[in-house]
């Protein structure tokens, strides 16, 4: 199986844009975008919508009050996580001031 970069670039995930960020993405609710990892997806999103990228990243990392869910599950790997061609990717607000939402926030 060819797992090189060309194969990865053919993967297309569906990224759901949070309502508060839609004005930065042409009012789109969802965007199909290529990438094998969340980092690829954010890079390609940023190329298409620079202002959106600024709201997601800070010094190349996901902002501390934003986390990512892949196929309904909060990712603990963030930008490093992989996505499939039929994956849904959601950017989710932090649980609270400065705290990135992770599985650990689902504790009790």
């Amino acid at each position: 199986m060819n797992c090189g970069p060309h194969y990865h670039e053919r993967l297309v995930a569906t990224v759901f844009i949070p309502s508060m960020l839609r004005p930065l993405a042409g009012d789109a609710e969802e965007i199909e975008i290529g990438g094998a990892t969340v980092r690829d997806i954010v890079r390609n999103l940023t190329a298409a919508y620079p202002a959106l990228g600024d709201r997601l990243l800070d010094n190349g990392q996901l902002r501390s009050n934003i986390s990512v869910a892949i196929d309904g599950e909060i990712s603990t790997l963030g930008l490093l996580d992989t996505v499939d061609s039929d994956s849904e990717v959601h950017f989710i607000p932090a649980i609270s001031g400065g705290r990135r939402r992770t599985d650990a926030d689902s504790l009790g």
Binding site: P18, L21, S64, E73, I95, S96, G97, G98, D105
Partner: protein
Amino acid sequence: MTVAATDSETTGQDRKPGPAAANGYEPNMVLANQTFDIVGSRPVRHDGADKVTGRAVYGADVTLPGTLHGAILRSPHAHARILSIDTSRAEQMDGVHAVMTAGDLPDAGDKIVDVGEGDTPLAYVHGNVLAKDKVLYQGHAVAAVAASNAHVALEAASAINIEYDVLPCSLTAPDAMRPEAALLHDDLVTKELGEESNRRSNVAEHFRWTKGDVETGFARADTIVERSFDTATVHQGYIEPHTVTALWNHDGRLLLWCSTQGAFVVRDVVSTILDIPVSTVKVTPTEIGGGFGGKIPVYMEPVAALLSRKTGRPVKIVMSREEVFLGTGPTAGTHTRVKIGASADGKIQAMEAELAYEAGAYPGSFVVPGGMCVFAAYDCENVAVDGYDVVVNKPSCAAYRAPGSPQAAFAAEQVIDEVALRLGLDPVEFRLLNAAREGTRRADGPKFRRIGCVEVLEAVKNHPHYSAPLVGPNQGRGVAIGFWFNAGLESSCTLNVNTNGTVNLVEGSTDIGGTRTSIAMQAAEVLGISAQDILPEVVDTDSVGFTSVTGGSRTTFATGWAAHDAAQKVVDEMKTRAAMLWAVEPEQVEHSKGTYTANGSSATFQELAAQASRTGGPISASATVKPRGVGGSFAANIVDVEVDPETGKVDIVRFTAVQDVGKAVHPSYVEGQMQGGSVQGIGWALNEEYFMGEDGTMRNSTLLDYRMPTTLDLPMIDTCIVEVANPGHPFGVRGVGEANIVPPLPAVANAIHDAVGVRMQRLPMSPPAVWAALAKT
């Protein structure tokens, strides 16, 4: 009489024998859909003897030679600037060995750190351990003392003189959101998904989720109900107070013994706060007398550590009950507005919620999961949810069983009830007509995977309780449903096979609800041996791989999964050993229920274990997991109440808890979790609250005045376990510890409405509150 099967897979096996109820059915039903040999049975818990004989070692039982005793001085004010701290009198007292303040902590600077619950400013973490410039709530720790005994320590702490400039305080979210409200933090501005406003505020975070178009949806509705609700600040109420013993050893290692839900989190957070390598800290978790989420944060551990370093002696600090109320937990008080519209055919057309949650002194109110859960049980095209995380002058919030979800359900499930009544529909049928299913997209975006919302509601509808007649005047019946996500995180497990065929299981998950046994059972299932032949032990942070906290209903799910994987490795090694004995290839060896066979040869697990030394030496295996595939859980209640119209007192006459647990590994423990969550929910609904003076001081900081329910207040809590297997786990486990606290709040409120016709929009629904509501009718 039995509950009907809830789906085609359900067989109703493992119905526990019990006393025939007066209602003519066996209580505590288990609607199972998968059967195993060990998983699903009810062995005696491994730690039972130590617990019932008092031999179990809790935090306060730890005493090292030469131990000093610590005490914390706490703020009497809810909001004040610290002008000066004079420790000279305390330092000169006989028996005092050390005094410390926030100035003894390393400088936090402007670092952002991950303290186990995501990134947070280190200054906030420091600030909650010991206040530096301001105190933000009554009970905020300001200084600490180590002395020869606890009495001297308390006396010395009271001799520390602190000069305060008292400031106005805000005690509720709506109060703190006023433009003129006094600000708790000089540097806090509102964040909205990466955008920061320029205006300083007590609102740390605002989020908004939309799905479809709520205006269009409401235009299609024939009935619209909109109401606002308030819930009080409540405490997790664990019986054992926080404790810590610290020894900063001469070799530079910091040793901690404490009551915590996560020894590794304590290790990591303490090393971060003290700016020392994580490898220098070793945490030994003692037995825990309850946590419910409230024993995840670190409070006294860094203080005891620094006092130990100053004195060269072990230092032990044990909180009083008042300190637990004032200085730890609680969960958020909330203000919520919910609006729901439905068409005459019973379909919900639009749902809208605005949630403002009190975070306490520092951001972190769990409003995000509240927003994710508020309408989780419903499939609706048009939804809008706004959430606000608001700092107030109360203790910083900690997780509490399904954090954020019960408050949201108190609002949403009452409005659902009212819409159903206005449409003339049965409240369960109305919920079923609109129930979330696999593939339903939640308001926050993601789709549900396999869930048991419909199966839980079907179990409610078919339960004998739901059709039983009410038996007295002023009685009413309420139902409600709630949701919690559960969590996965990271777990480790090691299995060491003994030559007599028993297995030592080493794990790092604090055992709160019987998880030693539920984890051991999963290993036993794979190995084909009895649960009693597994000897589980919870060990310190040097002795097992990293393990996240016991929380998020994750331990049986994730640490059990690690035990499953380690056991699979043991099975593979046993096949190799058997192959050696029988001169065959390992692939030729078959394993079934603890017996290994190949080419007519056969040996049991115990027989192969006895041969370990001559077949290659000790048999041991470890596994670590960071699993995906977490399965969320729905829980519902049927509640009968009787209201005394003269006093407003509400008695719970009958209570049934129904929950989808995926797979009940040990049904007795699952029933215990469901009953415990129900009781805490009843307390939250009827009596519990931080009763605050206008000056921000708590007026009921004892268990005499903070009214938790006792057995005298409660009927037997009947349970109905529904098993909709989680496809993401080897045994279908979802996690059971939290969703059960969500529905009692609205179910009791709906029952009160059914009984006496008043809609209770504020918690607690205590006798004075119900009496006042009745007086208005």
